[in-house]
């Protein structure tokens, strides 16, 4: 069975500060890993994904994430946040099961960016 844990339910940062949102996963092999963002009353939008290769992946809006097999982690980072980054961020995992790309989500982290 696989699982995803986002240990921080809420994170508050000042505009212009750097950001790290933590994600830990549990899976017997190397999974596919995703970060999605959810703005109020909207669906999920993909920020970035990791399949293999370079452990640092770049995403939209200057987000990046680093995969660590030894730590079973996939933390999301941004060098300088903007107030419009305020949203809920979900880390998700997909196992290697053919075309069935069922995602297992973490609990989500609410990011508040204060001016």
């Amino acid at each position: 069975a696989q699982s995803v844990t986002q240990p921080d339910a809420r994170v508050t940062v000042s505009e212009g500060a750097s950001l790290q949102l933590r994600c830990k996963y549990s899976y017997s092999a190397t999974p596919y890993l995703f970060w999605y963002v959810q703005y109020p009353r909207q669906g999920l939008q993909l920020l970035l994904k990791y399949y293999s290769g370079d452990p640092v992946v770049q995403g939209v809006n200057s987000f990046e994430a680093e995969f660590s097999k030894s730590n079973s982690s996939f933390h999301l980072q941004k060098a300088s946040v903007h107030w419009s980054d305020s949203a809920v961020y979900f880390c998700a995992l997909s196992a290697h099961t053919g075309g069935n790309n069922k995602l297992t989500f973490g609990q989500g982290t609410v990011l508040s960016v204060i001016p």
Partner: protein, 114 residues
């Protein structure tokens, strides 16, 4: 980018009544999913669907739930009868079908059962 459309965006329904949530997935996608999100909580997998059949369902996918996609039309989630605990936002998603492909999500259908 690719769009998944969901109809209705919100619905209020009396407990015990039937509701059908409709999803228009991305046109060339082969796998379809429903997720449930109770306000402020995580996205929870309900069911996925491929080639006219349910592939996998979670324990949240109660006997009162059913899915279908007749003749390539909407991918639907039907709840009959509804219960108070079915109040949530239901998200539809679709993916092309290769391993590890991205799921594309709709904006959700907010269901309130009273």
């Amino acid at each position: 980018g690719p769009k998944v459309l969901q109809i209705p965006s919100h619905q209020i329904i009396d407990m015990g009544q039937m509701v059908t949530l409709n999803c228009d997935p991305v046109s060339n996608h082969l796998y379809f999913y429903w997720y449930k999100q109770i306000l402020g909580q995580q996205m929870e997998f309900l069911v996925n669907f491929y080639n006219g059949k349910v592939m996998e369902k979670s324990k949240l996918f109660k006997d009162q739930f059913s899915v279908e996609r007749p003749d390539g039309s909407y991918f639907t989630l039907k709840i009959q009868p509804t219960a108070l605990e079915d109040s949530a936002v239901y998200f539809c998603a679709s993916s092309p079908g290769n391993s590890g492909n991205t799921l594309y999500f709709g904006e959700g259908s907010r269901l309130i059962v009273v």
